[in-house]
């Protein structure tokens, strides 16, 4: 069932890909598929460390690709939240060949912009003695240098080339854990695509950076500041985490993202956009024997480099229950989260089973309890992992109250469902249903080039082998009723809980004259 109200992190094509046993038809179909995929998939690790995956699916003369970078906003350095996402925007600005009329001159001009911006920033950040006049002059200097650099720019040429060659669904996504670039194209543009994609990975030019930073600030206003749920989620995570970067605004705190520099973005690129940190997958009407040499030629341009060091921070055990309430003009919402381990945990599939049994469809426990029987919520679910999967994350419950019902009622009912999980085994039917549905969903996902490209790249990155997309079914298969009770008792405890809610308050009169309309 789709969330009608919350832009909840949806189970994407990738996440569909988890599953377990059931009807024999399903099992044999999947077994066939793994075998057929073994034959249709070719992987290659280039000398620079970059992994290529080609999957032949010649249903129509098109292909989809996914470039998967094992770095996201969780990797943003302290004081630079939003950096990975900022860089992602930069990756659409072209290369030394694309988007410029004279790169040699532009490069000099861009260096001047950085110098001017550094001077401006130094003045801006002065704790005492900031000179407004000087600041204005420095700002003007930055703008003048930007205008000079802009003379060499052919705006949006990179995306223009892609789009006029038929790119469909061109986009990118920066998550906390990773960054993905993707689109689909007619198959006869494979080489053109390889040129474009390898170019932007290997040869990014930080042009028009400060204008793009303004664009990203608008994106923040749209997604977070001006959206009640966006505000709630940001505050919820900031409350749930004390040490790990999952608690930090992923699009960036306004004061930080508004001061990211092109130099910082390029340093991020240098560290994380190295071959060993990148997987590129292509699915569609391509022949590995022809495509692989072509891809190798282009993607060898990506610099080699050591796999970036892993993060040392591990979120410490939570001490006590935490709770926040946002008094907001919008209607109430309730959510609560419990810390859980990362995706490598042996119980990973157990969390999936719990989520499925609680939340998947009209048979789910939370729908039947809060929506159908008690009639206190329009929607209720428990999902995991949130906000990421690479590091220890949260199992999150939420409920959207019906008119006249309050967050406290949601909490009480959610806790009853949790108690049931802790004290009583789920039924055989529930467990079997989970396994059947997961298996079928995995199969359904195989008929989509883009979804498959994303999944292959993600599994290759996270497990070092795309086959895990199918093999994970073994883990799903092994989930028992006892596992569910055990995990529920471990994780769903008061001291591990963070709650967040919106409670409706009339709009605050903003100090104003306008005689507000309340």
């Amino acid at each position: 069932m789709q969330s009608r109200f919350l832009p909840w992190p949806r189970v994407g094509a990738v996440a569909l890909m988890a599953a377990v046993l059931a009807g024999t038809g399903l099992n044999s179909a999947l077994a066939q598929d793994l075998k057929s995929f073994e034959q249709r998939i070719t992987t290659k690790v280039l000398p620079n460390g970059l992994t290529l995956i080609v999957c032949e699916r010649p249903e129509a003369p098109v292909f989809s690709y996914s470039t998967f970078i094992d770095a996201g906003d969780v990797n943003d350095p302290s004081g630079e939240s939003g950096l990975a996402h900022m860089f992602e925007h930069l990756a659409f600005k072209g290369t030394s060949e694309i988007g410029t009329t004279d790169y040699a001159a532009e490069k000099v001009a861009l260096a001047k912009v950085e110098t001017a911006n550094d001077a401006y920033e130094a003045e801006y950040l002065k704790p005492v003695g900031r000179d407004p006049q000087k600041l204005a002059a420095l700002k003007k200097a930055v703008q003048d240098d930007e205008a000079e650099a802009h003379k060499y720019v052919v705006p949006n040429q990179f995306t223009e080339i892609a789009q006029r060659n038929g790119a469909e669904g061109l986009n990118a996504e920066t998550g906390l854990d990773n960054t993905m670039y993707y689109w689909s194209m007619p198959e006869n543009r494979l080489e053109l695509w390889a040129y474009l994609e390898s170019g932007r990975l290997a040869d990014t030019v930080p042009r028009e950076f400060y204008k793009e930073r303004d664009v990203v600030m608008e994106e923040r206003r749209m997604r977070t500041d001006s959206n009640p749920e966006g505000r709630l989620f940001e505050q919820f995570l900031a409350t749930a985490y004390v040490a790990h970067n999952y608690g930090r605004s992923s699009i960036g705190w306004p004061s930080e993202v508004s001061q990211i520099t092109a130099t910082e973005a390029m340093n991020f690129h240098k560290k994380y956009y190295v071959g060993s940190n990148v997987v590129v997958s292509v699915v569609g009407d391509v022949k590995a024997s022809e495509a692989m040499p072509l891809l190798e030629k282009y993607f060898s341009r990506v610099p080699a480099g050591p796999k970036p060091e892993e993060m040392t921070t591990v979120e410490p055990k939570q001490f006590a229950e935490k709770s926040i309430t946002i008094h907001d003009p919008s209607q109430p919402i309730y959510m609560e989260g419990y810390h859980r381990p990362d995706y490598r945990d042996p119980d990973d599939a157990v969390y999936d089973a719990i989520s499925d049994i609680l939340s998947n469809g009209r048979v789910s426990r939370m729908y039947r309890s809060l929506v159908r029987d008690q009639q206190i919520a329009a929607e209720a679910a428990g999902v995991s992992p949130y906000p990421g999967d690479k590091y220890p994350s949260l199992f999150v419950f939420f409920a959207v109250p019906l008119p006249g019902h309050m967050p406290a009622e949601m909490a009480a009912s959610i806790h009853k469902e949790i108690d049931k999980l802790r004290t009583t085994d789920v039924t055989d039917e529930e467990l079997a249903m989970y396994k059947t549905r997961q298996r079928a969903d995995l199969l359904r996902g195989l008929a989509d080039n883009q979804g498959l490209a994303n999944a292959l790249a993600e599994y290759q990155t996270r497990y070092g082998d795309w086959r895990e997309l199918f093999k994970q079914l073994d883990r799903v298969d092994k989930v028992t009723k006892a596992d569910i009770r055990r995990v529920a008792n471990q994780v769903f405890v008061t001291g591990n809980r963070t709650t967040a809610s919106i409670e409706t308050a009339p709009p605050a009169a903003p100090e104003k004259k306008d005689g507000d309309a309340r």
Binding site: P9, V14, A18, A60, G361
Partner: protein, 503 residues
């Protein structure tokens, strides 16, 4: 399992806002330019596209007027189907606005005389199968899907739901509660407000295309209303689409038997809507918990019978269709005033769509961004389309045309759609051929014919006190406040649990 990643799409909105068609590809062989002018990417060979003839579904015309399309696809062991039924929310009684939404939910959740909705849920989910019903503006639908092995059983259940639904008061009430939740929350998100209220500026607040369900109108809907609706529409011209891993001979026989037994279809009554143009000027909705304005610039669009539609599609691409469009280049890339900016002249199948351009910008730049956006719209009238712009737009549309039918399900859906709206089966081919013929002059001419910036209506949703300079600086007259207060049902009406207070 890998998880729901929290992702930030670069541009979740407006990837291609022109709702006009896009599709089948031609070869774009780089023109033979002098070598020194050729850019590196222009030297990359573009071979001929692999030959591709999209598989058309088999069409079956039953004597009773029902049309069936069968689309075989043996890649995966699934079978899915859908029944499209004429008649939707635009045809419902205004005093019961929301009826179709309730019907779409309660039809399925109530189930049949033999098996109630909850039992149906249990059975289907245990097989990872689905049967769902839905109501929309001009139609309702019943759709199912399952593994091949369960296909017969799931079809029987779906067919029984079509012929013998048992609308229950309990499930209607559940649907009413869901709807009520949506109603009391409809002013929480400014994007939702902007979209809804700008459509009302175009069509009028009481138009069948924009009137909104209220607590009182959904409260007025009874089980008898749902039954009456079902009985009145189910005899219409049904269009059936089946796709997946089935035996075509057996499936055809099965469908003929099932649907051939139904009485002759009743014709769909024609609609006689009138669409006066919107009143120009600026409307304003104050929302003080935001720091960004949603600006909507709207007017009346057209329908696809209009022979200018291919040219309008090219115009849309130039105005707001992608990274290279005038709006994107100016307002986002050059000025940095917006993340989301785009739009175009819409074309619906059987009534005028809207012209709609949207820009989201911080409160303080509302006037600047609006002016810049209006200027780009006006540029269609005063800055002739260049050959380069034309070529770029046509390349983008034509080279991605293929994605209109790169899966068998898309081909099937298109055929069903064309049949539903009475368009010829070769509509896409004709459309594409016409797109190829569009010239820069044609685009300038349609811009002159359809784009009149002074006749457009503007809506700003934003934080009034923060909008400085004020909207008066647009010089489009005093902003007209729009009241979006959610009406409370009169006491004693049946609306379920209304919120007590709204601003």
């Amino acid at each position: 399992m890998m998880s729901p990643l929290k992702r930030i799409p670069l541009r979740a909105r407006f990837v291609r806002t022109s709702s006009l068609l896009a599709v089948v590809s031609t070869l774009l062989i780089p023109a033979a330019l002098p070598a020194q002018q050729q850019k590196p990417w222009e030297k990359i060979p573009i071979p001929a596209l692999h030959e591709f003839k999209p598989q058309q579904p088999k069409r079956i015309d039953l004597k009773n007027g029902i049309v069936i399309f069968l689309q075989e696809d043996h890649e995966l062991p699934f079978v899915s189907g859908s029944i499209l039924i004429p008649g939707g929310s635009r045809d419902e009684d205004a005093s019961k606005a929301g009826l179709i939404g309730l019907y779409g939910q309660a039809w399925r959740t109530s189930g049949t005389a033999k098996m109630n909705g909850d039992q149906l849920d249990d059975l289907l989910e245990s097989k990872a199968a689905h049967i769902e019903t839905e109501g929309s503006e001009d139609s309702t639908s019943l759709a199912w899907d399952s593994l091949k092995a369960d296909a017969d059983q799931v079809f029987s259940l779906a067919f029984d739901l079509l012929l013998h639904p048992s609308f229950s008061a309990e499930k209607l009430q559940l649907a009413q509660q869901q709807e009520a939740t949506g109603i009391v929350r409809r002013n929480d998100d400014e994007g939702e407000i902007a979209e809804r209220e700008s459509a009302k500026l175009v069509y009028g607040a009481n138009s069948p295309y924009t009137r909104q369900p209220e607590l009182s109108t959904i409260g007025a809907v009874s089980v008898a209303d749902l039954k009456a609706w079902h009985d009145s529409t189910i005899g219409g011209k049904l269009i059936i689409g089946i796709s997946g891993d089935f035996d075509p001979v057996a499936m055809e026989a099965k469908m003929r038997t099932a649907f051939g037994a139904l009485p002759p279809v009743k014709p769909t009554p024609a609609r006689h809507d009138v669409f006066p143009p919107p009143k120009p000027g600026v409307s304003f909705i104050n929302k003080e918990d935001v720091n960004q304005s949603n600006v909507e610039i709207v007017g009346l669009g057209t329908d696809r019978h209009n022979p200018d539609v291919p040219t309008l599609a090219v115009m849309n691409e130039i105005l707001g269709g992608g990274f290279a469009s005038r709006l994107f280049q100016k307002v986002r890339t050059e000025l940095g005033l917006a993340y989301a900016v785009g739009g175009g002249f819409g074309a619906a199948y059987d009534h005028p769509a809207t012209f709609r351009v949207e820009v989201l910008t911080k409160s303080a730049s509302t006037v600047d961004a609006t002016k810049a956006t209006l200027a780009e719209i006006e540029s269609l009238n005063n800055r002739p389309v260049t050959e380069e712009e034309l070529k770029r737009a046509k390349d983008s549309i034509l080279n991605s045309f293929l994605f209109r039918y790169d899966t068998r399900d898309k081909v099937l859906a298109e055929r069903v759609r064309l049949e539903f709206y009475g368009y010829p089966a070769d509509y896409l081919e004709t459309y594409k051929a016409n797109l190829e013929k569009v010239t820069a002059k044609d685009v300038d001419a349609v811009a002159k014919k359809y784009i009149h910036a002074d006749k457009l209506a503007l809506l700003v949703v934003g934080n009034g006190p923060e909008i400085k300079p004020p909207l008066e600086d647009l010089s489009l007259g005093a902003p007209r406040p729009v009241d979006i207060t959610i009406p409370q049902p009169s006491k004693g009406s049946g609306a379920p649990g209304a919120a007590e207070k709204e601003q």
